[in-house]
Structures are given as structure tokens and as C-alpha cells.
């Protein structure tokens, strides 16, 4: 669901990359756009302010402006801040030292608690646990029936006792779970408005009585700016431990999810990503952040590239690219750097769409081939490396013999090299998308 937010941000980044050096004005313009994009994605307006301020502050700092690749730096800052907002590493559900562990689901009406409860039971069941579902929504018509139907469907027992209060049902169910050997008891409480003090008190009482090891606030991914008010009120009264986001399979841009952790300090632990009963997943903030930025793992890539390439080298390479004087010598150097970074296939994986694109352009290089290419280039004379066009049939035969390859291999490399030079021309032009940003780093 974060894709469209990602697309919008990508546009901003693309425009940013269009500029070589960044001025404070460029950064400001980009920040205005980012603000708009985030607000339209329903990120809480205060969180947006904070986010944009942080990114701007860091982006107009020394390191970025003086960097060879200022736009990439800004992207990386945005990524860092976004991961930070989403909560870093994933957080597991906590279980009690002595079973049964009680997991309590709370939230507004319609946030999807009942469905989420059943999905959670499926998830836990898959992990080898024996969950018991508890129908503690005594208010909504047919809520109990809904959970019972779901329970039958997923073959998980559902506890419900007629004519009892929600508190009594929960207490009794936990005892029943202990007696019957269920190691997890999932409480599906009634949806309620956070401003309804009476109903909130019911939750406080249940929580105090059954002492859940995990209380999860269930939040609809489509919630707007009010998500934060809701979460804060629930936090004040109930001290929940984590958040479960539902309806992530819609096209909401996920702003509520983005704001939650920042505002409540509680991590998003689970996310419901589809209609099927096994569509509940552990929430990975870092992966979500990279998805939002539509960048696969490009951040690691940028970091790695920076590790292995000094500014000096980068500038030289850029110069050569611009003057189209890129030769086999540079090619060799690039390839060695690439190998230090984990090989071509790794790098390709980290760039979204890159492997597909390269294949389309007929550039088919696997890591085993890299070694052979290296050998071929090593067998060339310096003159041949600098001026590939002197490579006639006799030279090619010699190189093939010297590198232990065939003439076809040499021919192929020469062909690929010239294709690559063509591709590089495209790179140095505008609008190469995901590949464009890599143009200065490595011309593969």
C-alpha cells in the first residue's frame, strides 16, 4: 500500500537528482514537495513538520552540499529519518513466562479487531501454539457469531459465555484456556470510541484483571489525521504495548502507520495485508521504509559504493564518462570495485528494476563471467585497453589464447563493451529513472 507514496517521493527525488549541486533553495523546494506528499498520505501534520525540519537541517549541512552526489545523500537522509519514524527493527510479540499468555486486542469500531483476532490465531497456530479466541464484544450485534464462524473456519476454539459481562467473559476464558492447555488466549474486545470513558474503563478493568502479556491497538491503515488522537488516548488510559495495522491491502498511502510510532513510541508489530486468514504478517519497519522510497535496498548500495569509491575517483570517472573516454582500463577498475561490493548479481538485486532493464539491453553478465572478463582484459596490451577499436581478428585470437578463453568470448566482451558505452550515453542523459542515480557510481 505504500507504493503510491513511494512513487510520489521518487518523483521528488528524480527532480532533485536532475540538479548537480544542491543549493539551499533546491533543498527547500524538495522539502515543500515532500511535505505535501506526506500530508496527502495522511501522515500527521506535526510529524510531517518534524520530519521535514530534520531532513532539511541535515540536508543543508556541510556533508551533503559538498558531496559529489548530493541528491543521493538527501535520499539517504530521508530514508534514515523514515526508518526512524517507523521504528527501526521489527518487534516480536511478547509472551508470558507461564502460559497462557493473554493477547488483548483493542481499538475503534470497524478497525478490524475481530478479523485480526482470527488472523492472529492462525499466525500463532502456524508457530506451533494452541490459541484460544475469546468473544468479548458483547455490544455489536452478531459480533460473537462473527468470531464463532471464523473460529470454525480456522479450526480454533472460541470461548464465549452468555449473559456475562465482557470482564467476566475474559476472566473465565483465561481460566478455561489454562485448564484446557491453550498457551495463548486472544481477547477480541468490543470496538469503542477512545473518548467514551465508560467503555474505556471496561478495558482498563479487563487489563488489570487478566494481565495480558501483550495489548495491541488495532488501527485501520486508512485512518487520517485523527489516528494520532485515538492512539494517544488509548495510550493514556491503557498503556498498550504495540500496534496492529489492518487493511494494508488497500491503496492508502500509510500515513497513519508512519505517524503511529513517532507519536506513541509504541512499535507496529503486525500488519494485515490481505483478506485471507493467513494474511497477517510481522511488520518490518526498515523494509517498509525502503518500499516507501521505492528503492529496494539502494541505500545499502549507496553506502557500499561510498565505502569503495573515494570522491577523487568518482570525479575522475565522471569526467571520463562525460567526455566519453571510458575504456577497458576503467572498466576493469569498476569491475574490481563491484566485486568488493559483493558482485554484480548482488548489486543488481539492490537496484529495483535494474536486472530486468540490463537484461533488456542485452547486457547479460553473471559473476562467473566477471572473472573471465577480467582475464580477457588482463591479456590486452595497454594500447588495446585504451583504444578498443584497434582490436582486430589477430589481436583477438592472441587475447583469447592468453586468457584461456575463446575468440567468441573476446568478441562478446568487445560487443558488450560498445553496447555499454551506448548505455552510458543514455545514463548521462536525463530520465534514466532508477538507473540514472547510479550513473556516477558505476557505469554497468
Amino acid at each position: 500500500m505504500f507504493e503510491s507514496l513511494g512513487d510520489r517521493l521518487q518523483d521528488v527525488f528524480t527532480r532533485l537528482r536532475g540538479r548537480g549541486k544542491l543549493t539551499e533553495k533546491d533543498v527547500d523546494a524538495a522539502m515543500r514537495e515532500i511535505r505535501l506528499v506526506l500530508l496527502e498520505a495522511d501522515v500527521n501534520f506535526k510529524v510531517v513538520k518534524q520530519f521535514v525540519d530534520h531532513v532539511r537541517e541535515r540536508s543543508i549541512g556541510e556533508e551533503v552540499i559538498k558531496s559529489v552526489t548530493p541528491a543521493q545523500q538527501v535520499v539517504k537522509i530521508v530514508f534514515d529519518e523514515m526508518t526512524d519514524i517507523l521504528g527501526g527493527k521489527e518487534k516480536d510479540i511478547r509472551f508470558a513466562p507461564h502460559p497462557p499468555s493473554v493477547i488483548m486486542l483493542v481499538g475503534l469500531q470497524g478497525s478490524g479487531k475481530t478479523t485480526a483476532a482470527a488472523k492472529l490465531a492462525v499466525l500463532l497456530h502456524r508457530q506451533g501454539r494452541t490459541p484460544l479466541l475469546v468473544a468479548a464484544d458483547v455490544y455489536r450485534p452478531a459480533a460473537v457469531e462473527q468470531l464463532q464462524t471464523l473460529g470454525t473456519q480456522i479450526e480454533v476454539p472460541v470461548a464465549y459465555y452468555k449473559h456475562k459481562s465482557a470482564l467476566e467473559i475474559c476472566e473465565q476464558a483465561v481460566k478455561e484456556g489454562a485448564r484446557k492447555g491453550n498457551d495463548v488466549v486472544i481477547l477480541d474486545t468490543a470496538g469503542r470510541l477512545h473518548i467514551d470513558t465508560e467503555m474505556m474503563q471496561e478495558l482498563v478493568d479487563i487489563k488489570a484483571s487478566v494481565d495480558p502479556s501483550e495489548t495491541l491497538l488495532v488501527v485501520d491503515a486508512m485512518t487520517g489525521q485523527d489516528a494520532v488522537n485515538v492512539a494517544l488516548t488509548f495510550l493514556e488510559t491503557l498503556e498498550f504495548d504495540g500496534i496492529l495495522i489492518t487493511k494494508m491491502d488497500g491503496d492508502a498511502r500509510g500515513g497513519a502507520a508512519l505517524s503511529m510510532k513517532a507519536v506513541t513510541g509504541r512499535p507496529i508489530k503486525l500488519a494485515s495485508v490481505g483478506e485471507k486468514m493467513n494474511d497477517l504478517e510481522v511488520f518490518y519497519p526498515d523494509r517498509v521504509a525502503s518500499r516507501i522510497l521505492g528503492m529496494g535496498d539502494i541505500v545499502t548500495l549507496v553506502e557500499k559504493a561510498e565505502e569503495h569509491m573515494t570522491e577523487e575517483k568518482a570525479r575522475k570517472l565522471e569526467e571520463k564518462l562525460r567526455k566519453q573516454k571510458f575504456d577497458f582500463e576503467d572498466f576493469l577498475e569498476q569491475m574490481q570495485q563491484l566485486r568488493q561490493m559483493g558482485g554484480l548479481s548482488k548489486v543488481m538485486e539492490m537496484v529495483p528494476g535494474m536486472s530486468g532493464m540490463a537484461r533488456q539491453q542485452g547486457l547479460d553478465v553473471d559473476d562467473g563471467q566477471l572473472k573471465r572478463i577480467e582475464a580477457i582484459i588482463y591479456s590486452m596490451t595497454p594500447q588495446e585497453r585504451h583504444n578498443p577499436h584497434v582490436l582486430n581478428a589477430s589481436r583477438r585470437r592472441r587475447i583469447a589464447a592468453g586468457s584461456g578463453t575463446s575468440t567468441q568470448d573476446v568478441n562478446q566482451l568487445v560487443k558488450q563493451f560498445s553496447q555499454m558505452q551506448k548505455m552510458m550515453k543514455a545514463f548521462t542523459g536525463k530520465g534514466a529513472g532508477g538507473m540514472g542515480m547510479l550513473k556516477r557510481l558505476f557505469p554497468f
Binding site: R32, E33, L39, Q109, G224, D226, R253
Partner: protein
């Protein structure tokens, strides 16, 4: 389909009326406008805080009466001046009013209508889920009026904002009229969890209290116990239900319900549909099929109401757009307005798609659904 025309309508109408000066034509026309007379259109979306950039130092002194400077006081004063009638809506919205009231309270403290005020006002509307575009438009329109009309007091400021919001809401048009022929069929549609079944029941209850013969079609055959929920509500309303088994074809339920309605001389058929994410193509196709079945059987178009939860963010626009592709969307029922959410997304939806709001749900009781009144909503907002 008249959809293409409809998309443009709100903006055009807004411009036209702005030229006449809105609610206070004299004041607006006497003073020449310092800026462009054009109302901002969608082009202004790239201008996040226009006031700050365009009018530095153009502060207007704000006249503040004794005791008016704190937000809490005007909140209380407002409560007193309202009747019991509107109290529930206001109570629910009081939290939102606190946010929406902040710009005014802060301006009162600074005793100035300054760039900060305009920025605060825009933030407040964004916090109400109105969306950046609508927020900018409203603030921009209010700013022009306040500058040209020489508004200098808090109540005047708030009044201008209320009028602008109400004006925008009115520009989205009105709920389509009840069809002349019987039965009039109302589809209640929406994503999961927005309160469709409850809304169906409440609308049915309203028609029933008006003396109409109501019939419910339990077309939510997907959700576990969806039919049971509708039956329980129907029992409370005291109206018949046409139902099939869970997992059945909802279009068949609609068909049977309409047959039954004709046979029984029913006035209003309320079709409670299953909640569906608008991104699920097959489910939207299913909805479209139900719609076509009804249309063919009736020989005239049914009405449809999109239920939107007040907590919904900008995704509501996408919901309305895609539901509108499966059927002719007549209006929006804004549900769950008894929480702290403001439902400002209806401004964003209307602005984009020209769909008016017909109902507003302010509580769980049967009578807690009321016809939507733009003025009342705007008043509750500010």
C-alpha cells in the same frame, strides 16, 4: 454519464459565486482586491503556506474583547449558546474544535491576524483531514474576505471560516431526489468497518418513522455473521429483511429483494452491501453487477450512498473515485462523527469529485443519523 461534467462543477461554481462576493457582497465589492480576483484552483496545491510567503508584515491587528483570549472560554461559551439538539455533535467534535480553535486562540493571544495565523489555520484544516488543496483553498478564500471586509474580531474571523467551509460543501451539490417510482432503492456501500450495516439500519429507521414501508436487503453475504447483524437491526427497526445464505450471490439477494418489494408495495429498499476494499477488482465487479441487476429490474437508476468513516484520511478520495466507477455515487454518509475525528475528508472528496454529503452519524443509537447540514457542520468545526 454526467460524471465528466460533475468533476468540474464545484470549482466552477465556487469561482462564479466568489465573483458575486459570497455572503457579504457589499463589502467584498467595494474594496478592490489587492491580489488576483481568481479563486485558487488546484494549481495552488504547490503553495503550502501562502500567507507566510506572500504577505510578510501584513499583520492585521486583532481586536480581542476581555476574556476572549483563551480557547477554553469560548468553547464553554459556545456550549451554552447551543441547544440540546446540537450538543451531541458538538460534544463529539469538541476535540477537533480544540485543534481547529487553536489558530484563533493563538491569534487572540498575539492580538494579530498575521502570517502565523494563516499557517495555523491551514494546519488546523489539514489536521481535520480536509486535505492540502481544500485547506489552502479555504484559507485563501477566508484571507481575501477577511482582508477586504476588514474583519477585526475573533467571532468575525470564525464566521468567515465557517461560511467558507459551508460554501464549499454546498458547492458539491445535493443528494439526488427520491425516485418517483416505487420502490426507491438505496445501496449502502463502502470499505470494511465504516458502519454500513448500522447506517443502513438508521436510514431505514428514518424512512420508517416518516411512515414509509421499508425493506432491507441483506446483501452482505461475505462477512461472517453479516446477515445476522442486519437481521438484528431490522428487527429493531421493525422492517422485513430479504436474505440468502452466507456466501451466496449478493446480486441474487438484490434481485429477490426487489421482487419482494414490488409484491409487497414497499416504498424504500435499503441494500446493505458487504464491506469491500475499493482496490479489490473482483469485489468491485461484484458490486457493479448488483447495481446493474437492480437498474435493469427497476428500469430506473437506484440511489447509492457511500459510507465514509469520519476517521478516514485522504484515502477517502480514492474510495469515492473507485466506488464511483462501479456505480453512480449519489452522496456520502459521514459516519462515526461522535469520535474526535472531523471527517474533513468530505471536503477533499467533494472538491475532487463533486459528491455531496447526505447524512451524518453522530452516535450508536437508532436516531443518531441526521441529514447533513453544511452550516451546522461548519459551525461545529469552528
Amino acid at each position: 454519464m454526467a460524471k465528466g461534467k460533475r468533476l468540474k462543477e464545484p470549482k466552477r461554481r465556487k469561482k462564479a459565486e466568489a465573483a458575486v462576493g459570497g455572503d457579504q457582497p457589499e463589502a467584498a465589492e467595494q474594496q478592490p482586491e489587492p491580489e488576483s480576483p481568481e479563486f485558487p484552483t488546484e494549481d495552488t496545491q504547490e503553495t503550502p503556506a501562502p500567507a507566510v510567503e506572500e504577505a510578510p508584515g501584513a499583520d492585521i491587528p486583532l481586536e480581542v474583547a476581555e476574556g476572549e483570549a483563551t480557547e477554553e472560554e469560548w468553547l464553554e461559551e459556545d456550549e451554552a449558546e447551543e441547544g440540546e439538539e446540537k450538543r451531541r455533535l458538538r460534544k463529539g467534535m469538541s476535540r477537533s474544535r480544540r485543534i481547529l480553535g487553536r489558530p484563533f486562540a493563538r491569534a487572540a493571544t498575539r492580538r494579530a491576524i498575521d502570517p502565523q495565523f494563516w499557517e495555523d489555520a491551514e494546519d488546523a484544516l489539514i489536521a481535520a483531514d480536509a486535505g492540502v488543496e481544500s485547506a489552502t483553498t479555504i484559507v485563501e478564500a477566508a484571507r481575501k474576505r477577511i482582508t477586504s471586509e476588514g474583519v477585526r474580531d475573533l467571532e468575525g474571523l470564525r464566521q468567515v471560516f465557517r461560511e467558507e467551509v459551508a460554501e464549499m460543501l454546498r458547492s458539491f451539490g445535493e443528494r439526488p431526489a427520491v425516485s418517483d417510482e416505487k420502490p426507491h432503492v438505496v445501496f449502502i456501500v463502502g470499505v470494511n468497518g465504516v458502519g454500513k450495516t448500522t447506517t443502513s439500519a438508521k436510514i431505514g429507521y428514518q424512512y420508517k418513522s416518516e411512515g414509509q414501508k421499508v425493506l432491507f436487503a441483506a446483501a452482505d453475504t461475505f462477512r461472517a455473521a453479516g446477515i445476522e447483524q442486519m437481521e438484528m437491526w431490522a428487527q429493531r427497526v421493525g422492517a422485513p429483511v430479504v436474505r440468502h445464505k452466507t456466501g451466496g450471490d449478493p446480486a441474487a439477494v438484490v434481485f429477490d429483494a426487489l421482487e419482494s418489494a414490488t409484491a409487497r408495495g414497499i416504498d424504500i429498499v435499503i441494500v446493505d452491501t458487504a464491506g469491500r476494499l475499493h482496490t479489490k477488482k473482483n469485489l468491485m465487479d461484484e458490486l457493479n453487477k448488483m447495481w446493474r441487476v437492480a437498474e435493469r429490474q427497476l428500469g430506473y437508476p437506484p440511489e447509492s450512498i457511500l459510507a465514509i468513516d469520519a476517521t478516514t484520511g485522504q484515502n477517502g478520495v480514492s474510495q469515492a473515485r473507485i466506488f464511483g466507477e462501479a456505480m453512480e455515487l449519489g452522496s456520502i454518509a459521514l459516519t462515526k462523527m461522535d469520535g474526535s475525528a472531523k471527517g474533513g475528508v468530505v471536503l477533499a472528496i467533494g472538491r475532487e469529485l463533486g459528491i455531496p454529503v447526505s447524512y451524518i452519524g453522530v452516535g450508536e443509537g437508532m436516531s443518531d443519523l441526521r441529514p447533513f447540514d453544511p452550516e451546522e457542520y461548519a459551525r461545529a468545526l469552528f
